[in-house]
């Protein structure tokens, strides 16, 4: 998964600072701008969807039209013109490729630039199965044969809608209802692709599953939808990576991710989000409005979210766990880094319903430049959650003195036996630490990166190895120009 040095060098030459900011020159098949029932029919037809799916979408659209844009928490945002967006864009030559041979070589080149090991030889050397979503369609899913042998389904969700309608019907919208929020409703109406994962009872998925999302087209929204189901005693570790080209206008990304864990099942969901953050003056960048939620339906089930968020102009995201099962476990490990004029409002919700349910929240916020970084979290203990426990730790690190860090923890406990602990710290990157590193010959930028990575250590160690290395580098790159 690690890009070769040569790739990185070429990229840096081509793109300057934001290393993923290139645009791929391929013909694309786009829906006209705007949003109405016809566009939804267009998307559904493009995907060859059954009637029930189209009906579901249209109903969601009707719901969305009745909703109000949310009141922006701590965010400062220009109103979004939802009629000025393309809701569907597909690289022209790649509608449902059967194998990698059929994938447009330009696309493969893009993925190579991104450091994604799409070509199968490379993948065979590793242990990662990859689904790659380019604008609105999934262009290649590797390793499917291997996975099918153990009964694991890993495919684009558009394909799952056709091939496994019963599973999709049963679970889609069951964790994040259509009307949950403005963006979940919008996504339900117009979602274009995403991944579908099903791990049958008793199966430990033999490899990490991974999806790369990339927004390529201008004026395009990306609305992907991911659904992961782990049956009793199943285990899966899923990774998600995101990049977008450098563009002056803002682009919208509104994804929905739903996880379901049954008895004794475990889902580990890791994200490295590096959407284009905009330039030093706040021009351009992705609006990242994502609803991610996991339901620990089974007893002793476990869902763990790990995220490293360095990109996007605006991030609005609260991966959550609904801890229904007895002794179920929810975890949230987060690093959110903002620089320049980025804004992040992120955190988690842990809803304790089951007896003995436990949750851990470790959040590390880093603010640099003139950015604003807010942790917003909710821990709710329902009356039936006897002996529930939560531990929350929120640490903020400020780099420079023009940025802001905010911590907004909400705690609602309706069961007196619950034990909730909350710790929060705010610190500044210290001049002593910087000088100590520099005196050892380490450049200012590398010193900042070392210290910040040290600050994030507890979260980074939760990431799968190869992702952790990438994430560390990303933190260094994202902090460039923040000191000195």
């Amino acid at each position: 998964m690690v890009a070769t040095q040569e790739t990185i060098d070429t990229l840096e030459e081509v793109t300057g600072k934001y290393k993923y900011g290139f645009v791929t020159d391929i013909e694309s098949d786009k829906a006209p701008k705007g949003l109405n029932e016809d566009i939804i029919r267009f998307i559904s037809a493009k995907k060859d969807e059954p009637q029930w799916m189209l009906d579901w979408r249209l109903k969601a659209f009707a719901t969305w039209q009745k909703m109000e844009t949310p009141d922006w928490a701590k965010l400062d945002i220009e109103p979004i013109d939802y009629q000025d967006i393309h809701y569907y864009a597909a690289p022209k030559s790649s509608e449902g490729p059967e194998s990698l041979d059929e994938v447009d070589p330009e696309l493969l080149k893009t993925y190579a630039k991104l450091g994604i090991p799409l070509d199968e030889q490379k993948i065979l050397a590793g242990v990662v199965a990859v689904d790659a979503v380019f604008d609105s369609v999934s262009v290649a899913t590797t390793f499917r044969g291997e996975l099918a042998k153990v009964g694991v389904i890993f495919c684009p969700i558009s394909e799952a809608i056709r091939d496994y309608p019963d599973l999709v019907k049963k679970y889609i919208g069951s964790v994040v209802p259509v009307a949950d929020n403005y963006f979940s409703a919008l996504n339900s109406a117009v979602f274009t692709d995403g991944s579908f994962v099903y791990i049958p009872k008793g199966v430990r998925c033999p490899m990490e599953l991974s999806t790369y999302f990339r927004i390529n087209e201008a004026n395009t929204g990306q609305f992907e939808r991911t659904l992961i189901i782990a049956e009793d005693e199943a285990y899966v570790s899923y990774l998600e990576g995101c990049t977008a080209p450098q563009r002056d206008e803002n682009q919208l990304h509104a994804a929905v991710v739903e996880l379901v864990a049954m008895d004794d099942a475990e889902i580990k969901y890791s994200t490295v989000q590096n959407w284009y953050p905009g330039d030093e003056n706040g021009l351009g960048g992705i609006y990242n409005f994502v609803t991610k939620r996991g339901a620990c339906r089974g007893d002793r089930s476990k869902i763990s979210w790990t995220q490293v968020e360095t990109g996007s102009a605006i991030t609005w995201k609260y991966p959550s766990c609904i801890l229904q099962g007895k002794d179920s476990v929810g975890e949230f490990y987060s690093v959110a880094l903002t620089n320049n004029l980025q804004q992040a409002d992120t955190g988690t919700k842990m809803i304790h319903i089951g007896e003995g349910s436990r949750s851990t929240i470790i959040s590390k916020g880093i603010s640099a430049g003139r950015s604003q970084n807010c942790y917003r979290g909710l821990v709710r203990i329902q009356p039936g959650a006897e002996n529930a426990r939560n531990f929350t730790q929120c640490d903020s690190l400020l780099v420079g003195d023009k940025c802001g860090a905010h911590t907004v923890p909400y705690i609602v406990s309706r069961n007196p036996s619950a034990k909730i602990e909350h710790e929060a710290t705010t610190s500044r990157i210290s001049e002593d630490q910087l000088f100590y590193c520099q005196q050892r010959g380490i450049s200012t930028e590398d010193s900042v990166s070392l210290i910040v990575n040290g600050f994030c250590k507890e979260v980074m160690k939760e990431l799968p190895m190869e992702f952790a290395v990438e994430a560390q580098k990303l933190i260094g790159i994202s902090l460039e120009g923040s000191v000195g």
């Binding site: 005196q439 010959g441 600050f455 994030c456 250590k457």
Partner: protein, 251 residues
């Protein structure tokens, strides 16, 4: 040949407070110089100014290494040019693994010299070997830099870094303070191991006993931001017996 380090009429301020008030000092290659002086006389300040710390402003004079002024160089550049400072109070770096820190420091030099980065496994072996000489155990190497180390452990860790970086000029700021007798011996042996005709050292201390282990070529007394006296090893003994009384006036 120009001295390895030459300090010419150096004046420096912290904030608006002048601390160094005209220091002159020349250290030839291969020499060891000791600096003694009362608390608050400016010893640590001088070490920071030499190392180019931000906020320590040179208001007059010059610092030259091999005849070239270092004033325009950033602290990391000076370090890569071969200047090392063993801190009086080493700084904790929470979460920063010792091995990655040491490797980053060594690689920074190698990259500048156009060499390849160190081989990870070889490097671990090298660090372990050097650590053993300084009675630093594997557990300490695995921990975050200086975090939870005892005072004496921190000092030994400074010398380990010095041994790995092989600087041409080392400034040791009270590396002996807070060490027990055994540790003092370990640290001194470590320093002596690096004694080399191609390297020089500036050893800041309050105690004559260190100079029994690390025998200096010259001893200077710094007081009130100026070097008031210079002599051989016997000057340290004199200070130990009669203190700094009267030295201020001797200028």
């Amino acid at each position: 040949m120009a001295p390895l380090l030459e300090i010419r009429d150096l004046h420096a301020s912290v904030g608006d407070t002048p601390i160094l008030k005209g220091i002159n000092l020349a250290i030839n290659v291969g020499e060891i110089h000791a600096i003694m002086g009362p608390n608050g006389s400016g010893k640590s300040t001088m070490s920071y100014v030499l190392a180019g710390r931000d906020g320590y402003e040179v208001t007059g004079g010059d610092i030259l290494m091999n005849g070239v002024s270092m004033l325009e160089m950033e602290s990391d550049e000076r370090a890569r040019a071969g200047m090392f400072l063993a801190f009086q109070y080493p700084v904790e770096l929470p979460g920063v693994g010792g091995m990655s820190f040491l490797r980053a420091a060594v690689n920074a030099r190698r990259i500048e010299a156009g060499e390849d980065e160190v081989d990870q496994l070889e490097f671990v072996k090298l660090v372990r070997a050097k650590a053993k000489n300084l009675s630093i155990n594997d557990d300490m190497l695995k921990r975050a830099v200086n975090v939870g180390f005892s005072g004496g452990e921190k000092k030994r860790y400074e010398i380990l870094q010095m041994a790995l970086l092989e600087p041409v000029l080392s400034v040791l700021d009270e590396t002996d303070s807070g060490l027990d007798v055994d540790a003092l011996k370990i640290v001194s042996d470590g320093v002596n191991l690096l004694r080399d005709p191609a390297r020089s050292m500036l050893v800041i201390t309050h105690y004559q006993r260190l100079l029994n282990h690390i025998v200096p070529d010259y001893v200077h007394i710094l007081a009130g931001g100026k070097i008031r006296r210079t002599g051989g090893k016997e000057l340290a003994l004199e200070v130990e017996e009669s203190g700094y009384v009267g030295i201020d006036d001797a200028a």
